[in-house]
Amino acid sequence: MAEQGLASEHPASLWSDAWKRLRRNRAAVFSGVFLAWISVTAALAPWLPGMRDPTAQDLKLAATPPSVTHWFGTDELGRDTFARVIHGGRISLMVGLVATLVSLIIGVSWGAVAGYRGGKTDEIMMRIVDILYSLPYIFLVILLLVFFSRSIIMLFVALGLVQWLTMARIVRGQVLSLKQQTFVEAARALGATDAAIIFRHIVPNTLGPVIVYTTLTVPAIILQEAFLSFLGLGVQPPDASWGTLVSDGARVLALFPWLVIFPGMALSLTLFCFNFLGDGLRDALDPHDRRDVA
């Protein structure tokens, strides 16, 4: 990456190259567009014209199947399922993004420091990661949430804390090879501090794999939040995430199947698009992976 600038007058940078490749991948582009659309819709949900109040009950309209007025039907309390699915998306996406950010910050810093310092520091830091890896973490998350509090903050912390391990490993691997390169030596020769070398010079060069893994972490966390909500440990009422909606719907599955199907579809489609986008980004950003010639 460092020497690419020398290749020609108008270098095709890694980023413009990657962008070109990503745009050619129609499935990834569609996924990106869908995710942008659902994120904006979810974020703006309370202010959208015609959006019903997801908590407004109308017992006269209890549990009606999908219709022109209520696209996704209504639940047992007559709440509009469409509004509930969109508002549920707000929570699911927010949990996914915030917890991913937590894991990103911890993972990148941990991996970068371990890889850069090397030696004993690296040994100890990565041994900790190994040990944490072998923890039955989903059990621990359940314990944390059952025993302490079921607040959304706890959820962020619990999910973020278990997701940074792989990120740390990826970044460490990258840093190990990057720190041998001449631009790092140059920075050191110029008297840059370790912190500056790590975070100004090395970390930006690990962005490719980090972006890919981040894109794949978001759906993993959304899935875990949904799973915890399904067990009754995640988001607590009156808030509802997609996981809560599916969980509630599953209880009345035989009677009102639309209460499972629509939130389930929203959740699955979102996860699907995140995974597709992540795959597309990996193909686009990983220069070692130019298999399209074959």
């Binding site: 499935a27 190994d130 040990i131 072998s134 923890l135 039955p136 989903i138 059990f139 621990l140 359940i142 314990l143 944390l144 059952v146 025993f147 302490f148 759906p219 899935l223 949904a226 799973f227 399904f230 067990l231 996981g243 599916v246 969980s247 719907g249 599953a250 599955l253 035989a254 199947p257 499972v260 199907i261 389930g264 959740l267 699955s268 489609l269 996860l271 699907f272 995140f274 995974n275 597709f276 795959d279 298999r291 399209d292 074959a294």
Partner: protein, 307 residues
């Protein structure tokens, strides 16, 4: 390093790791507000004291800790708090075969279906078959099992009365839980197998094999497969531990009396001894399986160095 030395070193790491996990879980549980006998809060003080005494909860914390460690080393986790007439070990040993059966079938299905799909997709790289199977595989990875489970129940059990919607009696009761549990694994294994095979199929020694005039099936199955399958092998270890220990969700949806369901219930009931026993058992299981996988790895790929 010799294989024996490698195994010894790894076993020596497992012990302190298990100790860390035991300690962490022990103090996490003790730090949690609310005791195991919260439901019996209204019982007379004397009776409660007796109850605490019976479980050694009236002793100082460090005593309890040492006591717990010594017993845990002998795989004795004491009686369950919730079901006092039963030993934790008994409960685990009773639930394990159920979870293992469910998980075993799911894992078998994942390998038997996932690997061929992945290999075919890799061999037909960039063809319609490749795109279609990978699209389906990605969908399989993306649909959460707690969505898939109810949908399958809706379609196959409630819709056409083909299969029982829940419980664990008779062979037909296995179908829906196994399908639900295995889908994501089938899909993931297919993706891994494809990725691994693609990587290998572009290597020089494969070109050499083709140049020698070997038939394509021989090249794929004899030369490429062994290395291309490695990502699947390394995935199977942790996946097996997870899947054999039972799926919390699938076991709850289908009322399967396995370990996963016990763990969640134990946590909700604050059944300390059962939680500790299960967590330690699971962690030990996971580490032993990972070790086994690492050994298998060296058999498949002689280039792997033991470290």
């Amino acid at each position: 390093m010799s294989l024996a030395g490698f195994i010894l070193r790894r076993v020596l790491i497992i012990v302190p790791t298990l100790w860390v996990i035991a300690t962490l879980t022990f103090f996490l549980i003790r730090a949690a507000p609310g005791g195991p006998f919260q439901a019996e809060r209204d019982i007379p003080a004397a009776a409660k004291e007796q109850l605490l005494h019976k479980y050694g909860l009236d002793q100082p914390l460090h005593r309890q800790y040492v006591h717990f460690l010594v017993n845990a080393a002998r795989l004795d986790f004491g009686p369950s708090y919730k079901y006092p007439q039963r030993q934790v070990r008994e409960i685990i040993l009773e639930a394990l075969p159920v979870s293992a059966e469910l998980g075993g079938w799911a894992l078998l299905l994942a390998i038997l279906v996932g690997v061929p799909i992945g290999v075919i997709a890799a061999v037909r790289h960039n063809s319609t078959v490749d795109y279609a199977s990978m699209g389906i595989a990605l969908a399989g990875v993306s649909i959460p099992n707690f969505v898939l489970g109810p949908v399958l129940v809706l379609g196959l059990a409630l819709g056409i009365y083909l299969l029982p919607p829940a419980l664990w009696h008779g062979p037909e009761s296995r179908v829906l839980p196994v399908l639900t549990l295995s889908t994501a694994y089938v899909a993931y294994v297919a993706r891994l197998a494809r990725g691994g095979m693609l990587e290998v199929l572009h290597q020089d020694y494969i070109r050499t094999a083709r140049a020698k005039g070997l038939a394509e099936p021989v090249v794929v199955m004899k030369h490429a497969f062994r290395l291309g399958i490695l990502p699947v092998v390394s995935y199977i270890g942790p996946a097996a531990a997870r899947i054999l220990m039972g799926s919390i969700v699938v076991e709850s949806i289908f009322s399967v009396p396995g370990l996963g369901r016990y763990l969640v219930n134990a946590a909700f009931n604050r059944d300390y001894t059962l939680v500790l026993g299960e967590v330690l058992f699971y962690a030990g299981f996971l580490m032993v399986l990972n070790l086994a996988i690492d050994i298998a790895y060296t058999r498949l790929d002689p280039r792997v160095e033991l470290a």
